[in-house]
């Protein structure tokens, strides 16, 4: 499979504990499983409320996988790693599992 860049977007509303946790979680998962082939864009709806409509955001935090398609959304603080990976359709890198 060709290397592709994952485009992720995390919608938050201010630095709430849930948003901070979500960002921490997704950054960790990406480093572990998508090293070097991902981008995470953080959109704070308190700053840019008009952006909520485009991606149909109603829950906070919401992680949107823009690419690869199809579009996927994961809402919540992303604390369940397995669910997030399944939801994003990321194949876990097995090597790392030695921890």
């Amino acid at each position: 499979m060709a290397k592709e860049t994952w485009e992720l977007r995390l919608y938050i509303a201010g630095q709430t504990p849930k948003s901070v946790l979500a960002l921490k979680n997704i950054t960790k998962y990406c480093r572990e499983h998508l090293a070097g082939q991902y981008t995470i864009e953080i959109i704070d709806l308190l700053v840019n409320p008009q952006l909520a409509e485009g991606d149909q955001i109603f829950a906070i935090p919401t992680l949107v996988r823009k690419f690869p398609e199809p579009l996927r959304k994961i809402i919540g603080d992303l604390s369940n790693e397995e669910k997030v990976l399944v939801g994003l359709n990321i194949r876990p890198v097995m090597v790392k599992k030695t921890t």
Binding site: A52, Q56, A59, I60, L71, R72, K73, G76, N80, G87
Partner: protein, 474 residues
């Protein structure tokens, strides 16, 4: 006007004809109102009308947050009612935000809240300075998301937030099996709850509305019929029956000299109602036609509802006894509206009556016969409708004449329409058949006439080419 009414509770006019009369002025201002009902009962339309009329009549911009229909669908659906949503949107008076929840593309993990929804709503409200908000149907969230605990607490927060924001909001909810709404929204939105209902009785569909509760305000507690037609939702005017209408002492003719003479003052007072009862073939329609012709001769606009004969038939039949109606129709003074009673429900009949009365502004209205309407509704409905109708005619100072068919032999006091109308009618004329000297004679008797003396005898009358000839009672 009530002295304290205006201070009692701030209300927002709904823009829905007739509803504000029941709620005593509209929805609670700056608070959420729950409208619930089963599918297809008119919830979305009621919400939309609230917004559109709010813009056009009260200059209050509105936000419609749709959880089901897309803006395009909504716009198309209400276009037939003359609501041009696209125009209102381009004028920045209206905003439609469609919240699409695609369950298949959403995964939930961990804690979240609906802040995104709040932000969107807040953004939409602030962008146009909205005073009115509709959330239709927020319960869809429960279908798209799994965590009901979060949803519930977030909804509670949302309704609280709406109050703080100070917008008058309508929240729609689908009717549940054991509760008013599927998710028990009535627990959260407790200021005003309106229930819509759509049912079919005797093959005739009627829509009804009931105010389940309205905190801090008095309201009508009955079920009120409402209609959806080409102008939107109309809730039928309720029986105010305050008996405060203006009265007139102007005397008018029944259109028949002999009949006028039976009354001490030679006619009837303007704006009063007359009931003519009698069995089949007692010339009720003929008397009604005299009434119509008399009104037209005074150059007053007249509306004739015929539930048994078509306009042409009525004109021809009356011509044969010398009552010329066709000239009045041509000159536009007389309008005959014929329809089958069973064509539509009672409410629709009443609405047609209302509309024609509104359009033509007649001074005289004739309904021949009012008893036909009984066939389409049940007792209490007919009664309520007749009371409403008579009330409206009285308030507008319209001369009214109703005929009613009674059955030979039976006591007319038991008859439904007679029972309903006779106490409200100002004059009651009874016509009957009598057997005398081997032939049938018709007799006319005045049962009552408010505010004037009248003949008490049974006045024999016959019908000839020149019309009705009354023999003055001895």
């Amino acid at each position: 006007m009530g002295r304290q009414k205006s201070e009692e509770f701030p209300k927002s006019k709904s823009g829905i004809d007739g509803l504000d009369e029941i709620t005593g002025g509209g929805f609670p201002k700056g608070r959420p109102t729950l409208i619930c009902g089963s599918a297809g009962c008119g919830k979305t339309l009621m919400g939309m009308q609230f917004l559109v009329k709010g813009i056009s009549e009260f200059n209050e911009p509105g936000v419609f947050m749709s959880f089901e229909e897309t803006p395009k669908d909504l716009s198309q659906n209400v276009r037939s009612l003359g609501f041009d949503l696209d125009k209102l949107i381009s004028q920045k008076k209206l905003r439609i935000d469609h919240i699409q929840i695609e369950k298949s593309e959403i995964e939930e993990t961990g804690e979240y809240d609906l802040e995104g929804l709040f932000i969107r709503l807040n953004h939409a409200i602030d962008a146009i300075g909205a005073k009115r908000v509709v959330l239709d149907t927020i319960e869809s969230l429960f279908g798209g998301l799994d965590n009901a605990t979060i949803l519930r607490s977030e909804l509670r927060r949302l309704f609280q937030w709406l109050k703080v924001k100070g917008v008058t909001a309508i929240i729609t909810g689908e009717r549940g099996e054991s509760s008013l709404t599927r998710q028990g929204l009535e627990e959260y939105v407790s200021d005003c709850v309106i229930l819509l209902d759509f049912r079919v009785i005797d093959q005739i569909a009627t829509r009804r509305l009931r105010i389940v509760k309205y905190r801090g305000s008095t309201h009508g507690t009955n079920e009120y019929p409402f209609l959806i037609d080409e102008t939107g939702i109309t809730v039928l005017p309720i029986t105010s029956l305050k008996l405060e209408h203006k009265i007139s002492s102007e005397l008018l003719s029944y259109g028949n000299n002999g009949l006028d003479k039976l009354f001490d003052k030679g006619g009837f007072f303007r704006g009063t109602s007359t009931l003519i009862t009698g069995s089949a073939g007692t010339l009720k329609t003929t008397l009604a036609s005299y009434f119509a012709s008399g009104s037209c001769l005074r150059k007053e606009s007249t509306l004739f509802f015929s539930f048994e004969e078509s306009p042409d038939q009525l004109v021809r039949n009356m011509k044969s006894i010398g009552i010329q109606l066709s000239a009045h129709i041509k000159s536009g003074l007389l309008f005959i509206h014929s329809s089958r009673p069973s064509l539509q429900g009672l409410e629709m009949h009443l609405l047609v009556l209302h509309k024609l009365i509104g359009e033509l502004k007649p001074r005289t209205v004739i309904i021949d016969p009012i008893s036909s309407l009984v066939t389409v509704g049940n007792t209490s409905e007919v009664r309520a409708m007749l009371v409403r109708l008579m009330d409206m005619l009285k308030v507008n100072q319209i001369n009214a004449l109703f005929t009613s068919l009674t059955h030979e032999g039976s006591n007319e006091y038991n008859d439904l329409t007679v029972d309903a109308v006779s106490s409200l009618a100002d004059t009651w004329i009874k016509v009957s058949n009598m057997e005398k000297d081997g032939s049938r004679k018709r007799a006319l008797n005045i049962v009552k006439s408010r505010g004037m003396g009248h003949s008490n005898g049974f006045c024999e009358f016959s019908i000839q080419d020149k019309g009705i000839a009354l023999k003055k009672p001895a």
